[in-house]
């Protein structure tokens, strides 16, 4: 019995120390932008001059009738003299989107060019499409110095390409990752689309108020990731990328091709993560640009289930990247350690958030020595600090984007913090299970287009 009690104490100490390490590093990562005043200087990216480098934006699309027209309209009218927009559409599988894409190609000749998704495979994923598009570009002999990736619902800011062009010339970065920001945190019912069926207003109100907690947490995650965590990882050169609004220098893509025979890994669930790690291995720097007015605005997954699925895919992808072992080739030990941490990060973080109160409860219930109980308090205390910072972040967010955050939204952040960690935990467990069962198919996130301005459905209707 005494051995058992000692064992329990020792495990509480070990788990608490681990959690402490994870919470402290998590805090350090998410605060990188504010570590020092210079990190948050408005002038840190310089002011872009006239763009010079020709480029291409690839837009993989699949069943995106709801948003495709609007996205292509926007992408075709960015402020840059010399670029192509290339939607990638599977014609037989998705005639609706194909029709819209070709319509836009006619509307913007010399700007929009449709690339058919390869028909020699049954698998449908993003990397296959992207690879096909780059091959088509070379076939057609279109000149380009950089390639950008946009998702079907991404509305790039008109000035985005100027900045990207400037950063490519100003820095020697192989990749420029621009900010992506989820926007729909609010519990305000009017911001959500009206559902079909009976009592739509009531159901919309209910949905808005019951989902705001995880949407706010999700939005803040992006806010912290793109401003801080990616920045820090770019500085340390261990870098899983975001999936879109990311731009690759041609030289880097050629280096990839030379080394691996293809550009994007077609087997990988999170090809963006892998390509980032590979960039570090090949010695290419990543430049992360987060300018609030230029971020690509996106929406959270439509449902909590969707969020979990998305997370499962990411985590599973991270496991794949970890297994693939590219990170072993990183030049320094520090980078390799960081890579392990970054790839396993989501698991650690999820479990820490959930375990912290459990460890303390266990220590108290079991009457551990007081020093042990006090140690178990530290991770919990830091979790509380993290929540306090989230409240601050929401305030900063609402000021930056001039959207009103209401008391209800703040409450959602506070009360939703723990459940959100639970959700992440569920996703982590699910991801491990799927990985163990070797189910590596794509779990795609669906989008409603709630971040788009209202007239959207009408435009879609007219192209049909």
């Amino acid at each position: 019995m005494r051995e058992l009690s000692l064992l329990l104490d020792v495990s509480i100490v070990v788990v608490s120390l681990l959690m402490l390490a994870v919470t402290v590093t998590t805090l350090a990562f998410q605060l990188y932008k504010w570590w020092r005043p210079e990190h948050n200087d408005p002038q840190r990216y310089g002011s872009p001059d006239e763009p010079r480098l020709p480029g291409v934006i690839l837009v993989p699309m699949r069943h995106e009738e709801a948003v495709a027209g609007h996205t292509l309209d926007r992408l075709a009218t960015l402020d840059h003299p010399d670029y192509w927009v290339m939607p990638i559409v599977d014609h037989p599988d998705d005639p609706g989107t194909a029709r819209i894409a070709h319509g836009k190609a006619r509307e913007f000749p010399g700007r929009v060019l449709v690339c058919p998704y390869p028909e020699d495979t049954d698998v449908h994923n993003k990397p296959i499409g992207l690879n096909a598009a780059v091959h088509r570009l070379t076939e057609l002999g279109i000149p380009f110095e950089w390639i950008g990736v946009a998702d079907a619902e991404d509305l790039f800011h008109p000035d985005l390409l100027r900045v990207v062009d400037y950063r490519f010339r100003r820095t020697d970065a192989g990749i420029v990752q621009c900010g992506v920001q989820l926007m729909n945190f609010s519990a305000r019912a009017r911001d959500l689309p009206m559902p079909a069926g009976r009592h739509p207003r009531l159901r919309r109100w209910w949905h808005a108020n019951t989902s705001a907690w995880w949407r706010a947490a999700n939005v803040l995650e992006y806010f912290k990731w793109f401003q801080s965590r990616l920045k820090l990882q770019a500085v340390t050169r261990v870098m899983p990328l975001g999936g879109n609004t990311v731009f690759f220098r041609r030289e880097f893509l050629d280096a990839l091709r030379q080394r691996y025979g293809q550009y994007w890994d077609e087997e990988c669930l999170t090809e963006d993560c892998k390509i980032g790690i590979v960039a570090s291995v090949l010695g290419y720097a990543v430049d992360v640009v987060y300018l609030p007015e230029l971020v690509t605005r996106e929406e959270t997954p439509a449902t909590l289930r969707g969020l979990v699925r998305q997370r499962v895919r990411w985590m599973q992808g991270f496991m794949q990247v970890f297994r693939a072992g590219e990170w072993v080739a990183l030049p320094t030990l520090g980078q390799r350690v960081l890579a392990v941490y970054v790839l396993g990060f989501q698991f650690f973080q999820a479990f820490t958030g959930v375990l912290a109160p459990v460890a303390l409860t266990l220590a108290l219930w079991h009457k551990s020595p007081i020093a042990v109980a006090l140690l178990a308090c530290l991770p919990l205390g830091l979790s509380v600090l993290t929540v306090a910072l989230d409240v601050l972040m929401l305030r900063v967010f609402s000021r930056t984007f001039q959207v009103k955050a209401r008391i209800r939204d703040y409450l959602g952040v506070v009360l939703g913090a723990y459940p959100f960690q639970l959700v992440l935990c569920v996703a982590a467990v699910w991801a491990v299970a799927r990985y163990a069962l070797r189910r590596n198919d794509w779990v795609k996130t669906t989008h409603h287009g709630t971040h788009l301005p209202a007239p959207e459905p009408a435009t879609v209707g007219s192209t049909r």
Partner: protein, 518 residues
């Protein structure tokens, strides 16, 4: 990548770790040569003046023995006090002493616990002096002005005297100064802000009364942070500091001793007593109050630092960065006029800020542009201060460094060790308790006199008392009958067997009658 286009920092990676450390150290020395040339002599002088003669001066007082007995108890018994801990002070001070002792075998290295305590205080004093210099630099002082502040703090007889006693305030001072140094960090990073908050938390956990100085630190932090990351710095710093400080009430909570209740000590109960019921020392402004007498004792040691600091408070009007420092000093002074309880060693809290403000006055007179017509008067002021010190301090410092006479309590302790069988029950003064229990191994353990009537557990176990070893003022005081009834009663049935020193500080060893039992 060829060697030619490597940046200079990259070249270092090619060298061995040893070479890199060596080069780094050389660069550091070169960069700080002028600072070191000034600071090292000041620190050496401080170390010498504070260290030479510390075993024989000053006389033994209660508190050092108490804290050392608690540190000893933590190291050898794993508890926060040899008696039941009643939250009289937050425990970080003696936890630090105990940790240092564990690392260096402190209680065995010295022939008395007080000697070990003196060593701890010497270290704390030298570190504090260095930090006064660092804080001066961060406040914008020139090296010379910062060195003046360090010199005033390091060598003032008042600072030397109170700095030699093992007081919690002396351990808290370096933490407090470090908090301000970090709060004024030039990088203005989250890490510096958090460091400042953690240092302040350590200071407050060492001596809880320092919490009243929080406004000064917050003001400094607020002034020094940059709008681009202020909110984040303050949030993280506050959170980290609060979390560390929360360990103390949480400790009490987990022990079931946070709230008042029958049959146990409690943090809140003791705090309420400290704040509300403790006997007042009167106000500094009331003639003949205990506070006034204490203040006169301080002035007798050194007027320059204490009154000079007070007189320099107005200079803060001319230098923004000095304002929080002035606020801190003002807070210290206000505590003395508020008509509440002021501890004997309160002056420790005033000294570093006084030194900084006197130097601050020189800094303000010299002005930012360092024109000759302003530097001249500034130098004159500095010379005047130093001349004042040179005139009044040596007379005070000489006896502190040259006294050869062993303190009466120490002499009594040595006599007891030679003449009293180890199985006798002794009621002793705090300052010799650790030696009797640890070095001379008296079993049953001797009893600290103040615990005789206050700790129910001691009362319960008490079967007999064989010897009393206490200073005369414990017995000669008319209030003793109510404060120490058992002691006074035992004294009635005792005969003196040895006597050391005279006056109220004198110590007699009494043998208590075999036929009397408490």
């Amino acid at each position: 990548m060829t060697l030619a286009n490597l940046a200079p920092t990259d070249v270092r990676h090619l060298l061995s770790v040893r070479r890199r450390v060596l080069i780094g150290a050389q660069e550091w020395l070169r960069r700080h040569a002028r600072t070191l040339a000034l600071l090292v002599p000041v620190l050496v002088a401080t170390g010498l003046v504070r260290g030479i003669g510390m075993s024989t001066f000053p006389r033994y007082v209660d508190d050092p023995g108490t804290y050392l007995s608690q540190a000893w108890s933590l190291q050898y018994e794993g508890t926060l006090s040899p008696y039941s801990y009643f939250y009289d002070h937050a425990p970080a001070g003696w936890i630090q002493i105990a940790l240092y002792s564990m690392l260096t075998d402190g209680f065995d290295r010295h022939d008395s616990a007080i000697g070990f305590g003196n060593e701890c205080m010497l270290i704390a004093g030298v570190v504090s002096t260095g930090l006064v210099f660092a804080l001066g630099r961060r406040l914008g002082f020139s090296r010379w002005t910062a060195a003046l502040a360090a010199l005033l703090f390091g060598l003032s007889p008042l600072a030397v005297l109170y700095g030699r006693w093992t007081f919690l305030d002396n351990i808290a001072t370096p933490w407090l100064l470090a908090a301000f140094v970090l709060a004024l960090s030039r990088r203005r990073s989250i890490l510096a802000g958090t460091g400042a908050a953690l240092c302040f938390a350590m200071a407050a956990l060492t001596k809880e009364t320092l919490l009243v100085l929080l406004p000064g630190l917050l003001w400094t932090l607020w002034r020094n942070t940059d709008p681009r990351n202020r909110a984040q710095v303050l949030t993280v710093a506050t959170g980290a500091g609060a979390l560390l400080m929360a360990m103390y009430p949480l400790f009490a909570l987990f022990k079931g001793e946070l709230f008042e209740g029958p049959g146990h000590n409690s943090l809140l109960g003791t705090a309420a007593w400290q704040l509300a019921e403790r006997q007042t020392s009167g106000s500094l402004l009331t003639a003949d109050s205990p506070m006034r007498h204490l203040f006169d004792d301080w002035l007798a040691q050194d007027r320059l630092l204490l009154l000079g600091g007070l007189a320099s408070i107005p200079v803060a009007v001319f230098a923004g960065r000095l304002r929080p420092i002035a606020l801190t000093l003002v807070t210290g002074w206000l505590l003395m006029v508020r008509d509440g309880y002021v501890p004997f060693m309160h002056v420790v809290t005033l000294l570093p800020w006084s030194a900084l403000l006197i130097a601050g006055a020189v800094h303000v007179v010299a002005g930012p542009a360092r024109r000759w017509w302003r530097v001249g008067p500034a130098v004159a002021l500095a010379v005047a201060v130093l001349a004042g010190a040179a005139v009044s301090w040596p007379d005070r410092l000489t006896p502190m460094m040259t006294t050869k006479e062993v303190p009466a309590m120490r002499a009594a302790e040595l006599w007891v060790a030679d003449n009293v069988p180890r199985d006798k029950v002794l009621v002793v003064h705090d300052s010799i308790w650790v030696d009797l229990v640890h070095r001379y191994r008296f079993r049953p353990e001797s009893i600290i006199v103040s615990k005789l009537d206050t700790d129910p557990a001691v009362r319960e176990r008490l079967g007999r008392i064989d010897y009393l070893v206490v200073p005369e003022w414990y017995l000669g005081n008319p209030a003793s009958g109510t404060a120490y009834p058992t002691l006074v009663e035992a004294h009635k049935h005792a005969v003196p067997v040895a006597s050391f020193g005279d006056g109220s500080d004198g110590v007699r060893v009494y043998r208590v009658s075999r036929y009397w039992s408490p």
